[in-house]
């Protein structure tokens, strides 16, 4: 065991909850260490729908979550403007649905404080031309689209700016205990290939679905009920607004426009905890998603599917239910000192992407109480980096600059467009300048990290055309040119996984083309 170090708080997990908590604690002046076993957003935070819920979806079934969502929705729009697109949303009723549900829905939304307005179907068609024209009812709600990668990255960046240490590719192996209390963690640094220890009076378990395993390390029991959700990404934006079905929440009834694509989801199936590290999308799920998607926006039938992906919801079995089958709703914050008699250990899970900030606030409050620190939470008002108001006097900006600005907000100014303006990924207009910035400031270490931060290779060609140039640039910016081939291989494997479930028509042509293009660039079979 090599070096060891000490902190005020150690956070396990670099999902949105973990980075949010790290930022909150750092803003309150705590000395923070965050450990993530892979890259940020490796778990559910990188595999969700990207909907900044207005809460409307929960208004009928879960008033508390609904009210929580709308409050957070308003805050996130303010503090993370570069991660959020103010798309607004529609809840539509189709002829086969019950129009009475809509009346109940609107009433409950209002009770929860959600501005839900019934609009005429003709008006809905005008506002959102892609919507199924046979709709018989529509309600407009303040849904929005949020980019989880950017949101997580901005939180991590701000935490680091306030002194937090964010260590990716560091997997927690065990918790260190001293007379029953958790006093630190032992972890393996995958990059440096060494095992290290870190100490802090409080450790936060924000490991999402893997939280059960982490808790077990402290001898605490949390029963996770992993629920897999699959989604399909289409090649371009069909809809401008989020389109939901106005009925009891069900499978595949939300279509979210996200950046230049749109995503239909999700399914929901129970899976075993052991499957969570390697989940796949099945043909039956693809068919279901497509069928339901087309009933929201018929144009999807003619739109190329880029890829499929799936995530696992970190649902927790309710402490009140001895059978362990019913899930707790909303945010689950467990103080293991009071719950299990293990001081120095907290678990935070459940909730949603939309409520991450509130989860972080509640967690940081508890951390501060344990540390005897009395500082107020600032995250509801402090804008995240990139979200600051800025204006660019030069209106004749290049498309690549504008695309980067859409991703990084005011931070785009930090990119070296004068020297490195060459566009490497043409589908998503990613320049060498953006790649250099992502390496320098956003902790990018490989192609997958880079993809999440910049959208490199996320466009129509899925990297067939740009992969070599990008891998070369990345390897060069990281100062290890020998990694180029490895980067390509790693990237292609990841893309194949997403393309395989939807490989027909043009996606199949693209896949074949990719095989040819890339085959030329790497020397072995893929």
């Amino acid at each position: 065991m090599a070096e060891s170090s000490s902190f005020d708080v150690i956070i396990i997990g670099g999902g949105i909850t973990g980075v949010g908590t790290a930022r909150d604690c750092a803003l309150r002046g705590l000395k923070v260490l965050l450990l993530e076993k892979a890259d940020l957003t490796n778990g559910a935070s990188g595999r969700n729908h990207g909907l900044l819920h207005s809460g409307a979806r929960y208004a009928v079934t879960d008033m508390e979550s609904a009210a929580e969502c709308i409050r957070e929705n308003r805050i996130i729009r303010q503090i993370a403007s570069n991660c959020v697109e103010q798309t607004e949303g529609l809840f539509i009723t189709l002829p086969q649905d019950d129009l009475q549900y809509q009346a109940l829905f609107v009433e409950r939304c209002r009770e929860a404080g959600i501005d839900a307005r019934e609009i005429d179907p003709a008006m809905a068609r005008a506002m959102e031309p892609s919507v199924n024209p046979s709709l018989i009812g529509a309600v407009k709600v303040p849904d929005a689209s949020v980019d989880p990668f950017r949101l997580a990255s901005a939180n991590a960046l701000d935490a680091a700016n306030h002194g937090a240490q964010i260590r990716t590719y560091c997997e927690v192996l065990s918790l260190l205990k001293d007379s029953g209390a958790v006093v630190g963690v032992r972890y393996f640094d995958r990059k440096k290939k060494e095992t290290l220890c870190a100490y802090a009076p409080v450790t936060v378990n924000a490991a999402g679905i893997w939280g059960q395993t982490i808790a077990a390390m402290a001898g605490c029991e949390i029963k996770m009920l992993p629920a897999k959700g699959s989604l399909l990404v289409f090649g371009h934006r069909v809809n401008k607004m989020v389109i939901n079905r106005c009925r009891k929440p069900s499978n595949a009834d939300i279509l979210v426009p996200g950046d230049v694509v749109c995503v239909i989801g999700t399914t929901s199936d129970k899976v075993g905890l052991d499957e969570c590290d390697n989940i796949k999308v099945t043909p039956a799920e693809v068919e279901l998603l497509l069928r339901e998607g087309c009933s929201l926006a018929p144009e999807l039938e003619n739109t190329r599917i880029l890829r499929a992906y799936a995530g696992v919801r970190p649902l927790v079995a309710s402490d009140d239910d001895p059978t362990g089958r019913s899930t707790s709703r909303g945010i689950v914050l467990l103080d293991h000192e009071t719950r299990d008699g293990v001081p120095g250990f907290i678990s935070i899970t459940g909730g949603k992407l939309t409520s991450y900030r509130l989860m972080a606030e509640q967690t940081a409050n508890l951390v501060c109480r344990k540390l005897g620190v009395n500082r107020k939470c600032l995250t509801a008002t402090e804008p995240l980096p990139g979200s600051e108001k800025h204006s660019n006097p030069d209106r004749e900006l290049s498309i690549a600059f504008k695309a980067a600005e859409g991703r990084h907000g005011s931070l785009t100014g930090k990119m070296d467009f004068s020297q490195k303006s060459e566009v490497l990924c043409e589908c998503e207009h990613v320049t060498r300048a953006e790649i250099a910035y992502a390496v320098k400031t956003l902790g990018v270490r490989n192609m997958i990290d880079l993809r999440r931060r910049t959208r490199v290779g996320m466009g129509t060609c899925q990297g067939s055309f740009c992969i070599k140039k990008v891998a070369e640039a990345l390897a060069c910016e990281l100062g290890c040119p020998e990694m180029e081939q490895e980067f390509i291989r790693e990237y292609v494997q990841e893309r194949w996984k997403g393309m395989t479930p939807v490989c027909w028509g043009d996606s199949l042509r693209e896949a074949e083309y990719m095989r040819k293009q890339i085959g030329r660039n790497i020397n072995d079979e893929i």
Partner: protein, 401 residues
């Protein structure tokens, strides 16, 4: 489900192979132009997200459609760009663009004033004024004819047409009407020699190609609708002598302006194609002068290439005894209608045209033949070789009693 997913303009069919970029004449000479793939399918994804992603450099697209001809995936690259320009673009020089685009309005005024207008348009100081106005002073405007083709036709040709049993309708276009009635006269001569009478449309408006390329989509659609109406009423095949008008009516009305006029594609065609098919099928027999001799180098206009009809023109020319035909590799001439007249485009226009000028000059021909009038201006000013429409060559070679 989803087996034949064809999106609008086929833009999702794009494999990103960049073949289109390699054939784009503008991309080759202009470092500011992103090329068809980026301006078309790549840009479209971003424009769908937010119209502010509209790239002003799209104004450089010549609408030559070479990209569409080359694309192995059937992506309507040029259409996507044109539609985006109409939807999101704005004119850089609205007054000038309006003037250049309104070929028939300006034509009418200029024809009346031809005796005055022509010397003025050719006059040095006036050219400097045009320069300030945004029209390059190195350009020579096509001369305006004093008598419009329509007037000539009504006076001199119309009465004689009734002696023919069968008829064709003639969509003459602005150029024939205002600048070069001779081509129209040649057309009438050739059709009559074929045994067909000629009539004009009830009402002909400018096809609108210049309105489309200058961003006046609404006005273009109004004129297009009027033309479609007249063409439907014609009751005879509608023949043309301009590849650009033909292409605009057949393709752009439907694909870019969104008019419901798929039937146009079978009624409107270039006279060269129609005549070639009549001769080839033995329905028409033409007699030619025995003493005719002309070495001709044929230039395939971009829209001719898009129509896929250059072969008809070439084969027709080959049928004329005494014509020696040379066909070099296709290359854009760079004028693209009103594009090359704009001051800011002159340099690009000439750079694109230069390889073509060189190959035409190298052919050592007496004349260049081409089916497009704007190519004619560009090639004549770039090479000094006279440029003729194949119909005019046919008319010259006919044996008349």
């Amino acid at each position: 489900m989803q087996e034949h997913n064809i999106s609008k303009g086929n833009f999702e069919q794009c494999l990103k192979c960049n073949i289109c970029t390699q054939v784009c004449p503008m991309f080759e000479v202009n470092p500011h132009y992103p090329g068809p793939k980026q301006a078309g399918p790549d840009g479209e994804r971003y424009r769908l997200k937010d119209p502010s992603f509209f790239d002003l450099t799209l104004k450089y697209c010549l609408n030559c459609k070479s990209c569409e001809v080359a694309c192995p995936s059937g992506v309507k690259v040029g259409d996507i760009i044109q539609i985006a320009r109409l939807k999101y673009g704005r004119q850089s020089n609205p007054l000038r663009d309006r003037m250049l685009a309104s070929t028939d309005l300006v034509g009418t005024v200029a024809s009346v004033l031809a005796p005055v207008a022509n010397p003025i348009l050719a006059f040095g100081p006036a050219k400097r004024v045009m320069d300030i106005f945004g029209v390059d002073h190195r350009r020579t405007f096509p001369k305006y004819s004093g008598e419009k083709f329509e007037q000539w036709f009504k006076k001199n040709a119309a009465p004689a047409q009734s002696r023919f049993k069968e008829h064709v309708a003639y969509f003459h276009g602005c150029y024939v009407n205002y600048n070069y009635p001779q081509l129209g006269k040649d057309f009438v001569k050739v059709m009559n020699a074929c045994g067909y009478g000629v009539s004009l449309l009830e009402k002909e408006r400018c096809c609108g190609v210049a309105l489309i390329s200058n961003g006046f989509g609404k006005q273009a659609a109004v004129q297009a609708a009027q033309n479609v109406d007249s063409i439907r009423k014609a009751g005879a095949p509608v023949l043309t002598t301009s590849s650009t008008c033909t292409f605009t009516i057949r393709d752009e009305y439907r694909n870019v302006l969104g008019l419901d006029c798929a039937d146009m594609a079978s009624t409107v065609e270039l006279a060269v194609k129609w005549i070639y098919e009549k001769i080839a099928s033995g329905k028409v027999n033409l007699r030619f002068r025995p003493d005719f001799h002309l070495k001709v180098v044929y230039h395939t206009a971009c829209h001719m290439q898009k129509l896929g009809w250059a072969l008809f023109s070439q084969e027709l020319l080959k049928m004329i005894p005494g014509v020696e035909l040379v066909v070099p590799e296709q290359h854009c001439c760079g004028i693209a209608g009103t594009f090359g007249f704009k001051k800011e485009n002159y340099g690009y226009s000439q750079a694109i045209g230069q390889p073509l000028f060189d190959s035409l000059l190298a052919a050592g021909a007496d004349a260049v033949a081409t089916d497009c009038e704007t190519c004619k201006w560009q090639i004549e000013s770039g090479t000094g070789i006279p440029v003729l429409n194949p119909i005019s060559i046919l008319a010259m070679a006919l044996l008349t009693d």
